[in-house]
Point group: C2
């Protein structure tokens, strides 16, 4: 393993400037970002990123899922690239750093190598994955999932948002349905990201060495009762879908608490029909998100959820329909790749700890086809998927320095 | 009191035809009607009604709230009119009979009198009240409420729907912001309506003699927590608005059951922000509808609701905001007017029983300024506010016959 010069550091101010320039696209009044996958804002962010990459002399290609790869050549064209990056789409009321940090930290690594005149043996590619958030098109991490063979490309392109617009049509509309072949060998994949949880901040650590992630199961649940007049329908004759939904929401909470402290479970989206104040709800659709780092525990949570949904439907005389949207087994990252991140953090002198990701990331799919690792940095109060999401310039720069060190180790710095 | 010829009957087939012709406006694929207040469909329904009235030689006027009055002259112009009618707006997934029956039964009464060449001492006015349902603009029964002095006209015209469009602007858009003066003396008000509940059908009665209605309280509740990542935020750090909402929905159910059997309580509409499957809900807004025929019990339900909302907010670390949308005390109808309906049902030979309305109606406001009564007919399975709402032609004709008899008694048939 070739050790980089110990004093090589990324430019933290330049990284911060690029983050703020990107955060201006889809900026919300409350200081966050709304840049839904394949929206006009997503297109503007992609255009800005591609412009920067072309200015930096990188070769840009786009595949049919809209994944963008910006390539810095290596000395040995036969070597598979070290791929670094993340995503540019956000939650409806998202923050400035979730995703954008991983992309722009990767770009900052390339700029730093250019400035220092450092070549690597393997090529380096900065990647932007399509539709990581999954809030417009389900499931999440579609671009990396197709790349890694976890999802079918045609099926993914046919997924529709709430307005019936498909991922494929929207990609074409914004000009990012590209011609590049899908997939290809990857030497290593490293993604930098804010932690999106409270652990690093609470323990005063600068760097999280991510060893793997939680397993995730997503469901869409529809409860069908009968719409009826709110004033004239006696309580004992009601088939009220919203009362069933309330019981199911409480059950989802209980399922997580029964597997404390590692389990989390969430109902994040819900809609009611006809949604009128003086009509009993005829139907409710809601989402369920269950997570645990151990596959057997996650399977037990899945069984508990199905059993309780059935019991609630029976008690409330409702019809319950459960659609499995995503089943994501807990991934483990590559020991060698994780070790490279750990060594880079130690060499740069940053406090660090191993950590399991609570969130799903594109890295979780890339781990299926390439040695993969992630670098976490703290975020304020552990809050993400919120407009107040925040991280310090110093922590963001530290994570980028660790990414730089890991990339040099994995791509092979070429001396002279 | 002048007794009408015992064999005078309305034309049930013509009534049914006019109901079906009206139900075609805003017809839904499932056999119901979507004709939200002041929508293009509401305009089309109003236009059709006004056209029929003009064809029948009635004098039509529209006041600034969009209430339509179609007047059949009486022999004594100094007498205040007997007003009969209901509303033409519907729930988002409403039925063919809620409201439209009262309007078209009233119109059928006028046609029957015309055909028989019967004059009355007092004028008869067929009324269409604006925005009875309250599902587009809150509160409900706005047109009759302003007429009766319960609501301020300017305030009511400024009420906005979810898209920010005001009732006043929408009235002007559809051409029903009229020049007629608001209010005026009413000799008696009688409204025919489907029961919207199961009692008449269960007991095999054809006619309900409505003696009064339940009191109603409406609220808008907002629960504010903190949006955060569903995967990375530990359960014990969450401020999950949807979990608070679930507890409040269950509490609303319990409040009704504690006052069984007369109380009903409903959460009919709910919306979540940001409403994304992998983000903990930052805020939830929901509606609450509490009803009871006795004012002191309704006040106790109000107190219980506020106390539980506060306790739930505290337990879940949420901010709860309750807006009082409507406070409608239980109305009692006029004994003489109710007696006229009861006598008409008995004379016509229909089985009948006294009944308290579970729903609010325009008659409830009119009862504040005029002797008021209502005629109920059964509906299938007691279901209303649903596209499958149904009633038989025979029952609808029977209710219309009773309305005719009551009108003749109240307006005073003129012989010779």
């Amino acid at each position: 393993m070739i050790v980089p010069p110990p004093n090589l550091r990324i430019d933290g101010a330049r990284l911060w400037q690029s983050l703020m320039a990107m955060a201006a696209i889809g900026a919300t009044p409350k200081g966050g970002v709304c840049r839904l996958a394949l929206s006009d804002e997503d297109r503007a962010a992609r255009d800005r990123f591609v412009g920067w990459c072309r200015d930096a002399g990188l070769a840009v290609r786009v595949d049919r899922l809209g994944n963008i790869f910006a390539r810095r050549a290596g000395r040995d064209a036969a070597l598979p690239p070290v791929v670094i990056g993340s995503h540019l789409d956000t939650q409806p009321t998202g923050g400035k750093f979730d995703g954008a940090y991983g992309v722009l930290a990767a770009f900052e690594v390339v700029r730093t190598l250019d400035d220092a005149g450092i070549a690597t043996a393997a090529p380096i590619e900065v990647v932007v994955w399509t539709n990581e958030e999954g809030s417009r098109f389900a499931p999440a991490c579609v671009g990396s999932g197709v790349y890694a063979g976890a999802f079918d490309a045609d099926d993914s392109l046919s997924r529709a948002d709430r307005d019936g617009k498909t991922l494929g049509a929207e990609l074409a509309r914004i000009g990012y349905a590209g011609p590049a072949p899908m997939g290809g060998a990857v030497g290593a994949y490293v993604e930098a990201h804010i932690e999106q949880g409270p652990i690093l901040e609470a323990e005063g650590k600068t760097i999280g060495i991510v060893t793997g992630a939680q397993g995730i199961r997503w469901y869409d649940v529809t409860l069908e009762g009968q719409a009826a007049h709110a004033g004239t329908t006696p309580m004992d004759r009601r088939r009220d879908a919203i009362q069933g939904a309330a019981m199911l929401i409480a059950a989802v909470d209980a399922i997580a608490l029964e597997q404390a402290p590692s389990a989390v479970a969430t109902v994040g989206a819900l809609s009611v029909a006809p949604n009128s104040r003086n009509t009993i709800a005829g139907s409710v659709t809601l989402t369920v998100d269950l997570r645990h780092p151990d596959a057997p525990v996650l399977a037990a949570m899945d069984r508990a959820f199905r059993a309780r949904a059935a019991a609630i439907a029976k008690a409330r005389r409702l019809d319950a329909r459960i659609v499995d949207v995503w089943d994501f087994p807990p991934p483990e990252f590559d020991r060698g790749c994780v070790a490279a991140v750990r060594a880079a953090a130690a060499r740069a002198g940053f406090s660090h700890r191993d950590i399991v990701s609570g969130a799903g990331h594109d890295a979780c799919y890339m781990a299926r086809i390439a040695p993969t690792a992630m670098v976490f940095v703290p975020c304020a109060d552990g809050i993400s998927h919120n407009e107040i999401e925040a991280a310090t310039p110093a922590d963001l720069a530290a994570g980028c320095d660790v990414l730089l060190g890991a990339v040099l180790a994995l791509a092979g710095e070429v001396r002279g």
